[in-house]
């Protein structure tokens, strides 16, 4: 499994901005992730969903990047959701307690159902 630089694409559905993530969330992902988050905030959505269905690898620096996004979201009163995590990264979100602050859904549809 070769390293895959992160690509992030933003779209909007209902009241949510959805950031589709593809590739690795590691030190190299910082710019792409932050740019996508800034773009997602443009329309001032109350909810931002990180769709991690295309993510193969998250390391500790990737976790730190997500912590920073979460801090920004909380500051501006937005809810941060995540979906598409593999069982392993779901476990890591639980161990790090990110799952206490980011509600996690299996997929985009289930995440948007409750909005």
């Amino acid at each position: 499994m070769a390293a895959k630089p992160l690509e992030a694409r933003v779209h909007y559905r209902l009241d949510a901005a959805i950031i589709g993530l593809y590739g690795d969330i590691d030190a190299f992902a910082k710019d792409a992730l932050n740019a996508a988050y800034a773009e997602a905030e443009n329309k001032n959505p109350p909810t931002i969903l990180l769709d991690c269905g295309g993510v193969d690898y998250i390391n500790s620096i990737g976790i730190a990047l997500i912590v920073s996004l979460l801090a920004q979201a909380r500051k501006s009163g937005r809810r941060l959701l995540a979906c598409g995590l593999s069982d392993h990264y779901l476990e890591i979100f639980q161990i790090t307690r990110l799952a206490d602050f980011i509600t996690i859904f299996p997929n985009e549809t289930s995440a948007l159902q409750g909005l």
Binding site: M1, A2, A3, D24, D26, A27, F28, Y57, N59, S60, I61, I63, A64, L65, V67, S68, L70, A71, R74, S86, D87, H88, E91, I92, I95, T96, R97, L98, D100, F101
Partner: protein, 547 residues
């Protein structure tokens, strides 16, 4: 018999090795007349002088006063009051002239005289030609002998000054190979022993061949040995050598030179480089250059030499070499080149056997009939392979099998490579998916820590990874070169504090590792820092995971 007042034999110059021509005096030359004519002892006629073409076209006696050519040689003959010139032509080539001044009787030369001279010339030509060839051969033989003598001197200087054998150091293997070219290039290498046990390694190349190169090599070697005794830093040593060499360096000559100091106890290698080919460091198939910048010695004073250092781990090899290897040509005139050398070094397991491997590769590349173009020098430094630092108490009673052992340069992103290689190594253990994922994350995080904190992301410092299994456990040891640095206390990450900005968002690595593995052990010695990740059997794993 016509009495000749002056008689010279003038030979045409035939190149640098032509002996000077001795004038042949006339048998009855009188002192009174000798004073009247300017002496014409020898005359070199340029091959493009019109006189040459004239005599080759008209090979018979000519009256000099009647010739009107724009010829420097003709002007000299006229000034010397030569009356007749008899060309000596051999196989269409003008090889000499018989020049005659006025007759003693002051009468003109008769038709008989001319016929006689033409006959004389015809008979003299073969003898003159033979004499010329003999002299030419003698001159060439002398020149050849002089060149061979010079080569013997150059070889003697080099062979006397090059080390007779490679140093013997506990825990290290060293070997050197030196093959001079026919013309003897300026390659040299040297080992300098210091009282504290450190070892200086020198490899260099003078930009010329033969005796001049050998003399500059000998001078450089002496100056460097002297400077090395007084200065500790390799960069300062090269700086000093450069300052001393510059004033006396012959024009258009310079010396490339790499100077390294090895501390055999720790494996620390400090080095500086004055424009020499970069050594290759080989660690389990990964090859990196030991790069440090600096101008060749003897070109310009006031130069500074960048100094670098690295730690050589057990099993690692460094190859020092000269350009005679990389600049060798194949019969098709392709160059051996750095990429080929780097690839070959990577393909070989390393150690002193690399010398024979490269020699064979070079011989194969240049072909059987090639003449060696330049000196070839190879010096190998290998730290003997030894087990990674052992972790107390974990070895007892267990039989461990090594599944994989490899090294990775400390380059951001290489933790992915570590993760994949370990996953590959444990493939046959058929670990459950969840366990494999935890192993991979733990390996990636520990490798990142080793590259970042232990090795400061210096690519030349490798992270060593060994994967072992026993009947009851799986162990991955990840070793960096940061043993002399204290292990930073890791703060347990507190997400609330991070979200509130009271803690850095980072700092998850060690926390993740501890949560992924059943047991983690950390050990350090003077040079290494090892994290061992341990996974027990399946039942145990679950028991500890939830603890």
């Amino acid at each position: 018999m016509t009495v000749l007042r002056n008689f010279w034999q003038t030979l045409i110059g035939r190149g640098d090795h032509e002996p000077p021509v001795t004038p042949v005096p006339a048998a009855d030359r009188s002192a009174s007349h000798r004073a009247a004519a300017p002496a014409l002892t020898s005359l070199d006629i340029a091959p493009n002088d019109p006189l040459v073409a004239y005599f080759q076209g008209v090979p018979s006696v000519a009256e000099i006063d009647r010739l009107h050519l724009d010829s420097p040689a003709l002007r000299v003959l006229k000034a010397a009051r030569v009356k007749l010139a008899v060309p000596l032509v051999s196989q269409g080539e003008l090889i000499g002239l018989l020049n005659l001044g006025p007759r003693l009787s002051e009468q003109d030369y008769s038709a008989d005289d001319r016929a006689l001279l033409n006959n004389l010339a015809t008979q003299a030509v073969p003898a003159v030609r033979v004499a010329q060839l003999v002299r030419q051969q003698q001159a060439e033989a002398i020149a050849r002998e002089r060149i061979e003598q010079e080569l013997r001197v150059a070889q003697l200087i080099q062979q006397t000054l090059l080390p007779k054998e490679a140093p013997v150091l506990a825990g290290w293997q060293m070997a050197a190979y030196y093959q001079p070219a026919q013309a003897v290039g300026g390659d040299f290498y040297d080992f300098i022993f210091f009282p504290d046990g450190r070892l200086g390694l020198v490899i260099g190349d003078v930009s010329d061949k033969g005796v001049p190169a050998a003399l500059v090599m000998a001078t450089t070697r002496s100056i460097l040995r002297g400077a090395a005794q007084h200065l500790v830093s390799p960069g300062q040593v090269l700086e000093r050598v450069n300052e001393l060499l510059c004033p006396d360096m012959p024009p258009h000559m310079f010396v490339t030179c790499l100077y390294a100091i090895l501390d055999p106890a720790s494996g620390r290698l400090q080095y500086a480089n004055a424009g020499h080919d970069l050594p290759y460091r080989q660690a389990t198939g990964h090859v990196t250059e030991l790069r440090a910048t600096g101008m060749p010695l003897g070109l310009m004073s006031g130069m500074r030499y960048e100094e670098k250092e690295t730690l050589l781990a057990p099993g690692e090899t460094v190859l020092f070499y000269s350009d005679g290897l990389v600049e060798a040509h194949s019969p098709e005139r392709a160059m051996f080149g750095f990429p080929r050398l780097m690839r070959l070094v990577g393909e070989h397991p390393g150690g002193v056997a690399l010398i024979d491997f490269l020699r064979r590769a070079l011989a194969e590349f240049t072909g059987p009939d090639s003449e060696q173009e330049d000196d070839v020098t190879l010096v190998i430094l290998e730290r003997s392979a030894s087990p990674l630092p052992s972790v107390e108490g974990r070895e007892g009673g267990e039989v461990w099998r090594t599944l994989a052992e490899f090294a990775l340069p400390s380059v951001p992103g290489n933790e992915r490579e570590a993760m994949e290689q370990v996953a590959q190594a444990v493939l046959k253990l058929n670990l459950p998916r969840a366990r494999l994922d935890r192993l991979k994350t733990a390996v990636a995080e520990a490798t990142m820590n080793a590259m970042e904190h232990g090795n400061k992301y210096r690519p030349e410092l490798p992270v060593l990874i060994r994967v072992r299994t026993s009947d009851t456990a799986l162990s991955v040891r990840i070793t960096d070169q940061g043993g002399d640095q204290p292990i930073p206390d890791s703060e347990t990450p507190d997400l609330e504090a991070k979200l509130a900005g009271r803690q850095s968002p980072r700092g998850w690595g060690l926390f993740l590792i501890k949560n992924m593995v059943d047991e983690m052990q950390v050990t350090s010695d003077a040079t290494h820092h090892t994290v061992e990740l341990i996974f027990y059997g399946e039942g145990d794993t679950h028991g500890r995971q939830t603890a």
